[in-house]
């Protein structure tokens, strides 16, 4: 848009644009910071969005931009698709959507680098550093694109959630990655070689697929978070290609943030990142299970009426929700039950495991959707000391995160994972469809303890029954 401005302004334009980029960066940093507290998070997101808008508008004044027809077409199309996706998605499908958005972001960075390269009729005039970063941007962006869509397919069930692997796959993946990096070197040395370029692109797309396919469905959140970090890195690389500070800084911020988040998630599951990426664990695997006790395996069942009496006369009830609660769409009904109990003077708290739901913090979002105030939600570290003084724990659709084998059975695949110590409470009630195993594919000794009662059935129907029974107590 610079051509519409008078000359005396155009002279100062490049510097002005850089300064406004600096302001946009400040918005991003402040926005990310505010996203860190529940009270300010929404404002933080809006600040970041404002920073983005500022960045986009000021870029339109860049002197390199001379035509706008295609920009308008692209922005309108993308906005329309983005708005529809964001408005339509169910809160339970959030991990899939983040995967999709992430894939588009990574793909865009690869396309930007490729597009910049295509401007040079003879790429030999591009500087070596530009060629290296172009190669890296295409590499990281492409693998983010295909990797995210494989993750999406696994979450949606289009692709088996099982760990699909064969001996040597890890080796092939690592060899391919080294191969791509070597080829980027070759490409930098001789950018006229079209074949090398196509191999880099093709191999990068392939690596995205083959490195996510062997990872089990249970680990997808970690993978998406890692890919989120990659897409930031890809944007940053694209920034190097274009010599654009805003891209470099914002991309690096997201790259670092994504990596930290990935680590936090791994820690919550007691897995190392290496183990997630190369371990092929999770899904519906029949990983070696050893229930430990082997003796008495009878469970005690309870009914809605019986349970209603137990909770109505308790002084403290802790609800432990898992993904099963979300699948059954029972967030709203649990909120109703909780409200009824509170009216009777029962203290109600929610104990949220860091990986409850399908992403860290996912359960908080789902409960927030049902109007559960966030100050009733307690993290694992806050709620664990309270179980000993709790009368009844309602475990709804959760399994592995309350499995005492994580503490007692060193042979178990989940051994060492921090869990919610619900077995310390006076009584536990497990809402479950059947006695099937959880994500990790192992049995849960909690079900067979004397303090535990099972409430079999669909979580929503069971809670509805409980809700009605509470009226008659």
């Amino acid at each position: 848009m610079s051509q519409f401005l008078p000359d005396y302004i155009v002279t100062y334009l490049p510097d002005a644009i850089q300064l406004i980029y600096l302001i946009a960066t400040a918005f991003f940093i402040r926005g990310l910071k505010l996203l860190g507290s529940p009270a300010t998070a929404r404002k933080g997101n809006q600040l970041a969005a404002t920073g983005m808008l500022i960045g986009i508008i000021v870029t339109l004044f860049d002197q390199q931009i001379v035509s706008f027809e295609w920009i308008i077409v692209g922005v309108l199309t993308g906005s329309l698709i983005g708005i529809i996706l964001a408005k339509k998605v169910a809160m339970t499908a959030m991990p899939e959507l983040v995967a999709v958005f992430n894939g588009f972001g990574g793909g865009a960075s690869a396309l930007v680098a490729w597009g910049e390269l295509s401007k040079f009729a003879d790429p030999i005039v591009m500087e070596a550093s530009g060629l290296v970063t172009t190669g890296l941007s295409i590499f990281i962006g492409s693998l983010t694109l295909t990797g995210s869509f494989v993750a999406f397919g696994k979450l949606k069930g289009f692709i088996s959630g099982n760990a699909i692997t064969f001996p040597g796959l890890n080796f092939i993946n690592i060899a391919s990655m080294i191969g791509v990096v070597a080829l980027i070197g070759v490409f930098t040395y001789d950018p006229t070689n079209q074949t090398v370029f196509w191999i880099i692109l093709g191999l990068s797309l392939l690596i995205g697929i083959t490195s996510v396919i062997p990872i089990g469905g249970a680990d997808m959140p970690v993978v998406i978070s890692l890919l989120n970090s990659y897409s930031g890195l890809a944007a940053s690389m694209a920034g190097f290609v274009l010599g654009n500070n805003l891209l470099i800084v914002s991309g690096a911020l997201v790259g670092a943030a994504g990596l930290i988040l990935t680590q936090i998630m791994c820690k919550a599951m007691n897995r190392s990142l290496f183990n997630v990426v190369f371990g092929s664990f999770g899904g519906d695997s029949s990983s070696g299970q050893d229930s430990g006790s082997g003796g008495d395996k009878t469970v005690r069942e309870t009914s809605a009426t019986d349970l209603a009496i137990q909770v109505a006369y308790a002084s403290k009830v802790v609800i432990v929700p898992g993904y099963g609660l979300a699948v059954a769409q029972a967030q709203h009904i649990i909120k109703e039950v909780a409200t009824k109990l509170e009216e009777r003077g029962v203290q109600v708290k929610y104990g949220i495991h860091p990986v409850a739901g399908r992403m860290p913090g996912h359960m908080n979002v789902l409960l927030a959707e049902a109007d559960v105030p966030y100050d009733q939600l307690y993290d694992m570290d806050q709620i664990n000391p309270e179980f000993a003084s709790t009368d009844v724990v309602l475990v709804i659709g959760a399994n592995d995160v309350v499995n005492p084998m994580a503490k007692t059975s060193p042979g178990s695949p989940i051994y060492g994972m921090p869990i919610l110590n619900v077995d310390e409470a006076k009584r536990t009630i497990v809402f479950k469809r059947s006695l099937s195993f959880g994500y990790a594919g192992i049995d849960n000794p909690l079900f067979y303890t004397e303090k535990n009662q099972m409430f079999f059935g669909d979580a929503k129907k069971s809670l509805q029954a409980l809700n009605e029974a509470l009226n008659d107590v």
């Binding site: 929404r42 997101n45 001379v66 964001a86 396309l111 911020l253 943030a257 930290i260 860290p360």
Partner: protein, 96 residues
């Protein structure tokens, strides 16, 4: 100091800021944070605008427009869905 070295400087410093910012976030907000950070990574739209709006052949135009569409989906969808999530976070007693 060459431009590349200068760029590397700000890249590394920005990485450190990213690490510091995120390490202090409660688990409650991890999902919105992931989604919000993801929307920020759509900043690549700025690059897409520069590539598309500049001089270039047909290939450049096609790649550029595809990049704009992809990045805009990421930005618009990402910020909107994050806002949708955060809108629901309420303290006890807050007005609906």
């Amino acid at each position: 100091m060459s431009i590349l070295i200068f760029s590397l400087f700000i890249f590394v410093l920005a990485c450190f800021i990213g690490f510091e910012l995120i390490s202090k976030v409660p688990p409650t907000l991890h999902t919105p944070l992931m989604s919000g950070a993801n929307a920020i990574s759509g900043i690549t739209i700025v690059g897409a605008l520069i590539v598309t709006g500049g001089e270039g052949g047909l290939l450049t135009q096609v790649l550029g427009v595809a990049a704009i569409i992809f990045a805009t989906i990421n930005v618009v969808g990402g910020f909107m869905v994050t806002d949708r999530m955060l809108e629901m976070f309420k303290k006890k007693g807050d007005d609906k």
